[in-house]
Symmetry: D2
Subunit: 349 residues, 4 copies
């Protein structure tokens, strides 16, 4: 019963098959193969406009290089206090930008509060040289705590971005999980809302190593090519990433795996709602479930072989818990079986 | 007849099979799986001492992070004038080190000349603050032009490094090709010669994306872990690289694919030696063959569907060529067939 | 009536005279003159131990290079939320360190609260590669809001630093003002408390451009020399800074100008305490006085030609003010006259 | 008899007097004083167009920040092989740009050869992502070896810059010395030739610490303000630099001191031309004289108290010297007296 992370799952069989299928023969290196082109076109199709796509090795690379592409001397990027880029990337965004700052913004349930965002930006007047200046805003969709920005939530953030003239980035490490939760189109969740740059993640949702930066303004591509290469992110045999995306984006596989993950999470949430021994920390919307467990319950689950991780209680949350309680994260993936969820459900019943 | 680059080949069937085999099930992320451990041990076995291994996405990343690990304010790293790190990495080593300089050193046939190296280092006195100071030396094995440092050549460079107290890095993007050319052990070609840091490449020799930094001083690993993560190079599903290395390093596959590549290059060299229409630029020692072709010959080969690339004539070389002649590179790989080499041989006969 | 900043004052006559005196003749460049040596020795005398001193052009340079000297990949430096390095240096510390992070720590009246510091550091476990890791702590003495760390306050912060094995930096842009407030020796306020690195400011207290990094471990000097030069901070005619420090540190001038500034601030505070139209925001301890003024009072002072600046109300402070009130800063310097203070006092009486 | 460097001289009496004169009273900090404005206007007057001026602490800072202002990912800047920025700035330009590369270009007598420049640039095709790409060209006027680019020399370099679409920077650490050598206007030697950015040096020619970046496109100023502040180069009491420039640029003082320096150099050159014991290495055009001296002559001069430095023989030059000969540099300044030159002349007669 592995609920540790969607990174603990391997590759979906269709992804593994695509890799095998493309193992033979020759193909141009460095992103110039026919398969690379095909995948580029597929991204444009999915987003209903011409986009530029650059494969990278990790979500951290995608986030960092997105910020590099809008970098400014003295620049400050705004993200949620619990965002992956500020909590779990060891300073990579600051490193790749040569010292840009990440300014944390608070907001309930993992989402940036637009009013807080406005206040945070206002502390960095665009022309006051002493404090640095705003350069970008980043939202995480789905958020780090398994919630999802609704389309109106995104509109509200985009509105702040627009008023301040700031580019808007989306960290979509769990893009598909959010997309199927909202049941809208990829275009509706991104550029139609005002998103300029996207970290598009495939790894957590069934690929092995398939992350990309999607630029909604293809005019940025020429500059980004140098940003990408200079950051050691230009794969020589890029077809091995292309092959993954090719299978991932074909026949709706990516939506299907995301729907399965989300469904498994919803099922687990149901168990928690009914449990006398545990409770939901908040309602999950994607493929992460956060539960409040007493020390005895968490220990007993671990003894039974359930693998899961503790999590920081968000601001203002610790107060609602008993002294021996803590927040724990359970992540589902394309590989999570209904049997595992039911077994876990039985353990907390 | 593809002789464009060993990067145009796909994955060796055994590598593809290993990926498929490890596609299912759960494994710890971020380099902590059992398979990661197994591959670490295998590296230590191959190098006959405990080493630390970090997977990275590209050879550029391996070279750049190797330099970061020995970086100094005002640091200057010395490499051959034609080295990949200075010619083909778009400034990545300078970028990741925050501005270290690469100082080109000349030497015949792609190898650093130890006397030139000594002179180049002497221009940066270790205590003279104005000029910057030496921080590292890097050799490329096999070299960018398909030659190989003999063990005594490595000794001579290592001797300079030792006298100046400088760490010695080896860019082993084609490590296996050099190793089988020298027919010695991996330990003999590296730390026994004085190599401190190694960029170990598997991609060009049959993997899809398998590059690693090998630290011969495992005491550097703790610091390198942060260098690695901060550079966006810590793969979440690192088992997909581990699986490649596992198959690559098992049963001598890596040596076998390298021997095949080198043999194909040697066979092509034989054709060139006998050709009335073309000639070898210099004797190949690994899997790259450089030929001097007249404009008519190169054009006719292209018409026949041979894919290969022009190459800068090394310093002092252009003089030996007729005005319409140029240097061209032909690269062989694990995937090169004897039939293709014979067909090419027939075209230049 | 200029209370805008101690940066608005010029140079103390003795400083100006020293510059004139040293204008003629030849002297070795780049910090190697006899006068440079003399000033080095004077610093060692003042601090009662051998120290290494590097002149820099601004306090921002002093702070940034101090952090560079203890920089680590993924490093996080802890400072007060209102510290100059995080509020007013446009990201210079992050830039010079190539992306180190400044983590703000709260604490009442401009001083880091040791318990909060401990908590903040604990969020970055030294071995957990994902979050980054602690690398330094910085205190500002006197603080940005005119208060001073007592010796026991410094001990408490140093104790946290020691427990976490972190170097401790002091931003002493107003070092002399704090020193005379505590009425202790420079050694007692620094290395005897556990300070490792000091930004020593002379500019605000009567010099023109005299800032220095003081290293209490002279063994760091060799490395710092490259950090300093690479940062474009090695003055060719360094004697012009040396001449300022020579006069500044002779005959107690620096303490005398600081005592005067502090006394003028104390006098102004007295007026505010007695004023029916204004009140002290908090008790000043050095040469900055913060007052809470209603909109009518601040406007009338401006009309009368008093120059002063609004200031962010510290956290939790805004609640104590009426809607039309705001916090304003009045800074005194060596050049502030008793007449100006009395005139201002009369205006708020 | 000090001929070590123009950096060994102090301040011209008029500069020292200006500092004293502006020591008292209050002035806005951070470049906003009336005197700052006056100096800005004076620069615009001298250059016969509106320019933007930023004071910096060293020539290294001026050069580095100039490059930052035209920085690109993967960027390569071209300068003469012996240029100060590549030989004597400890990697500062690479550091401040986050890893841009300096590509050395050869050319006789310290001047970039336009054909070599063209060839060097051609090795970095603007769209080929692997090699990096051209971003700027820098000329040094007067050159590091005391020669001067004629207006047609500048035109030839500017022509290459224009064809490649590259910004052109001038390192004018000895700007005035070159200007009076050419006897043209400052506008003629800069933007009318195609110079976009200028490091304008006053320190070597009679100031204490007065260096500036001059932007001929004032539209760059807004961005440069952040580049400048982030680099710790925004002086709080900037009037102390302004006061120096104010006196330096008034009544032609700067041209007068430069003419004196150059005349002293010319006089020394005359002695060398007539000397039986020494000879000119090449004809001086500004305030640096390079002589070829046998070991006995250089030793005897040192014994007589002449202070001067050895110098690298430029490429292709060493061959023309006897085994015991070496090149030595003699630098004159505003402070050099005719008596000293005559005394030196007598010693080599």
């Amino acid at each position: 019963m592995i609920f540790a992370s969607d990174n603990w799952a391997g590759a979906h069989p269709a992804i593994a098959a695509a890799l095998s299928e493309h193992a033979g023969g020759y193909a141009r290196a460095y992103g110039n193969s026919d398969l690379d082109r095909k995948v580029d076109d597929r991204f444009s199709e999915i987003f209903e406009r011409e986009v530029s796509v650059f494969f990278v090795s990790t979500g951290t690379a995608a986030n960092s290089l997105s910020l590099v592409s809008v970098n400014k001397p003295g620049g400050v990027a705004f993200c949620h206090r619990e965002a992956h880029m500020t909590e779990d990337e060891a300073g990579a965004p600051e490193y790749f930008t040569g010292g840009a700052r990440l300014c944390p913004v608070d907001g309930p349930l993992g989402r940036i509060d637009p009013a807080n965002l406005d206040t945070a930006i206002a502390r960095y007047p665009a022309e006051f040289v002493h404090s640095g200046r705003p350069m970008a805003i980043s939202v995480t969709q789905a958020t780090e705590i398994g919630t999802v920005y609704g389309l109106d939530d995104l509109d509200a953030v985009a509105d702040v971005a627009r008023r301040h003239g700031l580019p808007l980035h989306m960290d979509g490490a769990r893009f598909a999980n959010a997309l199927v939760a909202l049941n809208c189109s990829a275009a509706d969740m991104t550029w139609r809302r005002g998103i300029d740059l996207l970290s598009f993640g495939g790894t957590k949702n069934g690929c092995w190593c398939a992350e990309a930066v999607v630029l909604f303004d293809p005019g940025m591509a020429r500059e980004f090519a140098f940003i990408h290469k200079r950051a050691a992110q230009l794969f020589s045999k890029s077809r091995f990433v292309a092959a993954q995306f090719d299978a991932y984006l074909a026949n709706g596989l990516w939506l299907q795996t995301a729907r399965h993950s989300n469904a498994m999470a919803a099922r687990l949430a149901g168990h928690l709602r009914r449990s006398p021994r545990a409770r939901l920390a908040w309602e999950p919307q994607a493929n992460e479930v956060f539960a409040i467990l007493g020390a005895d319950v968490s220990a007993s689950l671990q003894r039974e072989g359930v693998v899961f991780h503790p999590w920081h209680a968000p601001r203002g949350f610790a107060e609602a818990m008993a002294p021996d309680e803590a927040v724990f994260r359970f992540v589902t993936s394309f590989a999570t079986t209904q049997e595992d969820v039911e077994s876990l459900g039985a353990l907390i019943a």
